[in-house]
Assembly symmetry: C2
């Protein structure tokens, strides 16, 4: 059935998507390539393109077309129905926000991001504070564009995890707190795992070669992927067939390998979205939580598994023979899975990681509800770190300044990381039922069938369904923290047995 209204809608949405892709490149370039002197011009370009994208999307014509189109005319699972349904929801949200505010938020975020790097480097919270205050003020104006929700934070969360409510997240996180805090104590009581050999002299060029080797074996190819270096790794996809990972090489640690695997997980999700969804609002991952489930799968469920290291450890050991020559595979496996409270979220182990997220989730709610002023963040951060992980924060660089999210204007983003952990194990369990000999394949260094299962069951769907629908289609159940807790308990069992 041809439908000229639908064709016209697709044409208009394709243009909006082109503009989003332009912003993606402006943003990627800002973080990976741009000399600092370009910050002001870039903030202006990002603001203008962001505002125009917004204006284009909430145009009268798109509104009229959505008014005339009826998703009920099509099968619920069809591209057509999904396109109308998802676009309608996006539109109804977007039309409430003045494009000028979008532009202002983009501009403020771009300027704040440029200030964040030096502020972090100098551990100078005061230098970032006015930017955080400005971002928060703009976020408050943003929240006011929407009808009152059960909780103010619901509005923020919805941008990253559509249709998820703060109360649901809190329930999941309460379970995690309850389960993980005793687990962290048990692990501590069982005595320290030796991970001293993970700190030392790891030649950056060799790390780079190893990171490339791993992601290539996962499915990275030069004709469609890049892997660059940034202080704070991220993934960016400025087009179908153009997937960009970044990682961070440090001469004293092997973190680059795990960061590369993490970003690969984000990238392969984007790469797997069905081709017919590109240049529509459906052509990307369904939510940040589900996205994170894939980065965490490739980083942790694959990249910190025994099977993975059975394959890769001999060559890692050979590459860094001075550091690892005397370290056997089991000792290495235990070290990279060591549970130990630490200061930096992105370096945290699989268990304590969630406490870092819960801390941010709580502070974000207090910020947006006005119960906490940005100027008091360092103190609140320190207190909560002490409470949840029992450690003291020596400086803001290793505290509240460590992440770029708040500088980038993202409030409501953090909880999706732990939701991703939870979802990752739900999906992984289904994958293992279907694929069967997952561990054997990983031991052989084969990742094609794993990747293909994830692509055909999850990645291909893009944003056709809601996050909850997507999770249910793939796993057969709603979001559920029990498999994740079980996975952690099992993984750590021998360690504190």
């Amino acid at each position: 059935m041809t439908n000229t209204n639908l064709d016209r809608l697709k044409t208009l949405l394709a243009e909006v998507d082109d503009l989003r892709k332009a912003s993606t490149i402006l943003f990627w370039d800002q973080r990976v390539m741009m000399p600092p002197g370009g910050a002001q011009a870039r903030a202006e370009a990002l603001a203008t393109v962001g505002r125009l994208t917004h204006e284009k999307f909430i145009s009268q014509e798109i509104g009229d077309l959505l008014g005339e189109l009826d998703e009920g005319d099509y099968d619920y699972e069809s591209l057509e129905a999904s396109l109308i349904r998802v676009t309608r929801r996006d539109y109804e949200k977007a039309v409430r926000v003045p494009p000028e505010l979008t532009g202002e938020m983009r501009h403020s975020a771009a300027i704040a991001l440029s200030a964040w790097g030096p502020a972090k480097q100098n551990s100078d919270f005061k230098a970032l504070l006015p930017h955080l205050e400005r971002n928060l003020e703009l976020r408050r104006r943003y929240v006011e564009c929407f009808p009152k929700q059960a909780e103010t934070y619901d509005v923020l969360l919805d941008d990253y995890e559509p249709l998820m409510k703060t109360a649901e997240v809190r329930a999941i996180f309460d379970t995690l707190k309850e389960e993980l805090r005793p687990l962290i104590r048990e692990v501590a009581d069982a005595g320290e795992v030796d991970s001293s050999f993970l700190h030392g002299d790891f030649d950056v060029q060799k790390q780079r070669e190893f990171a490339f080797r791993v992601v290539r074996q996962f499915g990275f190819t030069d004709d469609e992927w890049r892997l660059d270096e940034t202080p704070h790794p991220f993934m960016s996809s400025p087009g179908e067939g153009d997937i960009r990972l970044t990682t961070n090489y440090r001469p004293t640690e092997l973190n680059s390998i795990f960061a590369s695997m993490h970003e690969f997980g984000h990238g392969i999700y984007e790469r797997g979205v069905a081709p017919e969804l590109h240049r529509t609002p459906l052509g990307t991952g369904v939510s940040l939580g589900v996205h994170e489930s894939q980065s965490r799968s490739w980083e942790n469920l694959i990249g910190r598994s025994r099977a993975f290291w059975r394959h890769f450890y001999p060559s890692l050991q050979e590459t860094f023979s001075e550091q690892l020559g005397e370290v056997d595979e089991e000792a290495f496996y235990r070290a990279v899975n060591k549970v130990h409270p630490s200061l930096i979220r992105i370096e945290a182990d699989e268990v304590t990681y969630n406490m870092h997220i819960i801390l941010r989730f709580e502070l974000e709610q207090e910020l947006i509800e006005g119960r906490l002023a940005p100027k008091d963040l360092p103190q609140a951060w320190g207190e909560r770190m002490h409470e949840y992980l029992g450690i003291d924060v020596p400086d803001d660089a290793r505290g509240v300044l460590q992440d770029m999210h708040w500088a980038g204007g993202s409030l409501g983003y953090f909880p999706t990381y732990s939701l991703g952990n939870v979802i990752s194990v739900q999906i992984w369990e289904r994958l293992k039922e279907d694929v069967g000999d997952v561990d054997d394949q990983m031991e052989r260094g084969e990742f094609g069938e794993i990747r293909e299962w994830l692509r055909s069951h999850l990645y291909v769907l893009g944003r056709k369904f809601t996050p909850q629908e997507t999770i249910e289609r793939v796993t057969g159940s709603r979001i559920d923290s029990r498999p994740y807790v079980r996975y952690l308990r099992e993984k750590l069992a021998p360690q504190h047995a």
Copy 2:
């Protein structure tokens, strides 16, 4: 005097400029960073951003504001008068062209550019031919948007060298042909200069370090500049304080140093534009000819001078001691200034270079007037190379496929290179009168006063005046080929004495 109409015009023009900056980054990234798989999505993004930029610029509101504003209310030299005057001319041209055509031209060019690389690599003209035909067809439609000119080519030329006519260029080029063809023969009769040592083993990493050293001494700084690698070097400026050069390192030649100096010349021009002109249509170089005068100044008038090499040669010799250890400064100077007909434009010496341009200038006129079909380009190219330079073209990679311009949809661009040569010497003569001890400064490796003279006399003007006005303000005369011919004759005199 405040003028709300003018302020509003500035606001609208700033947005247009932001969109242009977005295109600049999309284009730079396409050529320097993008994996090949991103070509389709990038072509779409470039087309959409290009079309929207055009739509924004020819908006009713800008038209109305220009109708109400009168440049006569301001001093001719003021920012206000220039802004109204130059914008009006741009607007009157742009309003004739349908934005859809702009989008199509952008799209076709982006796709053709992606095809050009492989076509050149495989010397496969047929692979590029349909793209050239499409570009030419779109260019014809573009020409038809404008009133009939004395010559069809006038319309194309005006986009790169505003207000210049084909007949004027032809007159200048006829003089160059007349003067340079006998000069090329004289030089040939005087016997071959030894340049064999310029071909050999030149470590790429050492070349990179040397190129950086030179441009740093010229004025490149890490906080505002980049120098990357591309097959076909270019300069790009996506914002004030964000200047990007590219060069091309080959393990058997030193071309990277000259390419880097060339692109530095383009970059320092953009960097020197007066700050108050940024985010307006005045905030860039005035024409490609004047732009090229600066790239050629820094590459040739500075970078191939005796004084420059008196400073840099000892360290170059030390860097490549195996290749250059036995080569004295004078021999090196003569070798990098050797006049000898060759196949590749960007590697050509200062004299024969112009014959490469004249060839392209003539073929472009024949193409747009329909006297030459794209499919017949290789043959026409070969015949003219034989006629003008007496050499045979072995394959299309070293013939018609060597330049990206036609693939990128640029027709009318080439003549600006030789105009740049001509203008460069006119400006340089004035600079030498004012600065005095230019050679002494270069011998000491000092370029600050040269750079500052060029900035304060030329770069700062941006597009405030017409190219001809700009040239006259700086040099006191109209464009004139005689100083350039005199410069070449003097430079080559000892060589064939």
